[in-house]
Amino acid sequence: MSYLVPVTGEGGRVSEVLARLARVDDPELDESVLDLGFVTGVGVDDAGAVDIGFRLPTYWCAANFAFLMADDMRREVASLPWVGRIRLELGDHMYAETINRAMASGQSFQEAFAEEADGNLEAVRHIFALKAFQRRQLAVLNHLSGAGHDEAAILSLSIGGLRSVDLRPEGARLVARYLARRSLVGPAGDADPAFVNERGDAVTPASFAAHRRDLRRVTVNVEFNGALCRGLLAARFGEALPEPAREPTLLDFVRGRAGGRPIPA
């Protein structure tokens, strides 16, 4: 798939910036801001200054999530060695001014929102990271049972065991995404159980049915919100958005339409 992000600047650097932005997820939807169509433009100049345009499905999207995504984008892009000044601009949002000012001056959420906040965003980030963990786990469980593995065998897997299950690329991608969040809920060494609940307890055949229901509830909600946000964004900006990419690669970014011309790779 291609990202329809208008870009300006030298192709290699633009691709690097896009690859970094692809690592930033909407904390609630657990999808990349690029897949979601939130990034409206990327510009890189010869001095290494980077401009990033950014939008959300509605004027009213939650301030905390908007800030988290903006801040994550800033951090990801800042970690590229050649990057100088970064200007991130959120458009058409009730807190656009506050968030853009905070990004420009490096303020924290608490500093930016002062008396409207009573702390940082770590608690809310953790809540949604847990939901992402649950959703990713369900995707792996479904994939494994779809591939013919039986329930008892699946639940007895260790993390190392899960890593060595022979899976098609799609399965391997789901496992990697799941394991990236596995340490949120407890020790995640190779010998630790692969499938645990949100408190870190191993899921057993006896607890599996109830556990799976919990995961489903979270997953249904996230998918529903993802569909809603996508619909709102498309309606707001009058464009049809592609469904989420399965395996975005760097090539996808490079091949992305750039204001009607291909970006030189």
């Binding site: 609630e28 939650a62 009730m94 909600n221 809603l228 619909g231």
Partner: protein, 339 residues
Amino acid sequence: MYRTKDGEDIFIIDGHVHNWDARPENQKNVHGAEFINCFYAYHTGLSPKEELWSREKFERYGSEQMVRDLFIDGPDDMAILQPTYLKDFYVNGFNTTEQNAEIAEQHPNRFILNGAFDPRDGERGIEALHALAEKYHLKGVKLYTAEWKGESKGYKLSDKESYRYVEAAQKLGIKNIHVHKGPTILPLNRDAFDVADIDDVATSFQGMNFIVEHCGLPRLDDFCWIATQETNVYAGLAVALPFIHSRPAYFAHIISELLFWVGEDKILYGSDYGIWTPKWLVEKFMNFELPDDVARETGVSLTRETKKKILGLNAARLYDINVEEQKQRLGLRERVAAE
């Protein structure tokens, strides 16, 4: 009234309708413009193409159009008018109780008029609630917890002031509290759509019913859990239902989760008119069947009896509507099967 193909009449109470004025001349500021923009995005994002309205019509459709869309072209038998004041965004308010009262008074057997309160209005607000409840014999109120008011951008139901108001409402004979969550609840670093405050207040006021509009979307997962614990928490289907057209598979999952956790006696149909119109929503819902795999996995079923409860009987119970008497009043008769 909706008539099934085999001739059964289904009595329908629409739990969530508005008669708003969002015309540019009534917009106070950019927030007013963006509020209706957001509604319009919901409308265009989830409606079937043939049901799309122009922006002008959407901003102000008016009473006549509303009555036609709900009761003449649409299958609703009754509808609950839910106010949304937004006086910081709209000169005369977006959709106030007083504005709704006009259409309710013209069609007294068709509409149930709900009021509203705002716990940030202090003593004066309690007095205003008294006056409103007496004047309109309110049985329900609609609260929008993310409404902006001066410096404040919202409140929680678990706030001390909210408790005072809920207590006052209860004394005034109001027993149904419809709650709509929004994005600006303070502190902003927390999850604004968290439904924990509803859990809290529902536990404290067992004699009242709490209808969570849009069934806690975007926190359906937490909402289901709370609604399981609290016998007086209900799910309003507004916003979830339109997915039946564009995303029927998601809708199947949502409704099956609600049936599993919340139960068929505690789910209320609402069109959220004028965002969406009842005709296609009810038609599609009546024709909707849960896919076998979803039904098997969740163990729930969506029978005609279940649909009747969701479409009208549950709301009738909450608002003391005797359905048979109401049909008489509306001139509707049960059809007697031909010999």
